[in-house]
């Protein structure tokens, strides 16, 4: 089972994600440079965090114009599981694969801290192993992480069950405390917090079990016995 980890100039969580996919969850992962194409038979794609193009102009916007995005769009339409984490989420939003926009945090600061997420939709390839409303301790690390949608879009998101994660408490001022969303089909998921930073007990001061379920959900979806 092959998972593609997409690397843009300035991605910086690509190696962390790769380590978790391969060393922790025994997946067969492969890097894909943003100028390359993605194979049609790939099983899942992850867009890792970082500062693609130095976050210039707006986080994610320049990377959203990369050649590889077209392939990701095609795979998304085919229903292939696609996960964007942090900058990956920003890129998915800026390329129109997910609704909404990520704005500067209300604090105007980069925020690096642990926080709690609540699972709001356990019907995606990355959340199917969770119980609904399950709590996930997880770190965030971003400057432009305030998810924003207008009221109409928010209504639609709720109707179509596209809100995947909410923060337990107000963290950065995002609309309706949203921390992660999916597309209408549910196969494209974007989230600001970093699951790859929370699945190994050594570096997780709280509890590594819940975040692992994000990857175990993926394993389950793409058909690998863990």
């Amino acid at each position: 089972m092959k998972v593609g980890v997409v690397v843009f100039p300035g991605s910086n969580c690509d190696r962390d994600m790769f380590h978790v996919l391969t060393d922790v969850f025994n997946l067969d992962a492969q890097y894909f440079w943003h100028e390359k194409g993605l194979p049609k038979n790939i099983d899942a794609v992850v867009l890792p965090g970082g500062f693609s193009y130095g976050d210039r102009l707006r986080a994610g916007i320049i990377a959203a114009h990369s050649p590889i995005i077209k392939d990701i769009q095609k795979l998304a339409e085919k229903g292939v599981p696609i996960l964007g984490v942090c900058n990956g989420f920003q890129i998915l939003v800026e390329s129109g694969l997910l609704p909404g926009v990520l704005l500067k945090n209300n604090s105007l600061k980069f925020m690096c801290q642990w926080t709690n997420l609540i699972v709001e939709n356990n019907n995606t390839p990355f959340t199917c192993q969770f119980k609904l409303k399950e709590k996930i301790p997880i770190p965030i690390a971003n400057g432009e992480g305030r998810y924003f949608v207008d009221d109409n879009t928010l209504k639609k998101l709720k109707q179509k069950n596209q809100i995947v994660f909410r923060y337990e408490k107000v963290v950065n001022g995002s609309s309706d405390k949203i921390a992660g969303v999916c597309n209408e089909d549910g196969n494209v998921v974007g989230m600001m917090p970093h699951p790859e930073r929370a699945v190994e007990s050594e570096i997780n001061p709280i509890d590594n079990k819940p975040s692992s379920l994000i990857f175990e959900s993926l394993l389950n979806t793409i058909g690998v016995e863990n």
Binding site: L57, R58, I61, A64, H65, E94, G100, V101, L103, K104, N106, L108, F148, V149, D150, G173
Partner: protein
């Protein structure tokens, strides 16, 4: 062909909050002795140097660039274009 300098100002649409402007106003300006300021809005500006045959073409081109490349996010921002 003439070289034009064109500025694009990207600012929040009305109704979209501007925490940065508010912070500068409340935590900096109003803290001091400057009580006559009632609002601050922040914006980002890009100044393009572009070679086109005339002003209108240049301006149209710049608008097209901004829309096509999503130089601004229409969900939250609007732009104002000025030929300098």
């Amino acid at each position: 062909m003439t070289l034009f300098t064109i500025s694009v100002t990207i600012e929040n649409k009305p109704g979209i909050s501007d925490p940065e402007g508010e912070t500068i106003l409340n935590d900096l300006v109003l803290k001091g002795t400057y009580k006559t300021v009632s609002k601050i809005k922040t914006a980002k500006m890009l100044k393009f140097a572009i070679k086109e045959k005339d002003k209108t073409t240049a301006e149209t081109k710049i608008r097209k660039i901004c829309d096509d490349l999503r130089i601004y996010n229409p969900m939250v921002s609007k732009i104002t274009i000025n030929v300098i």
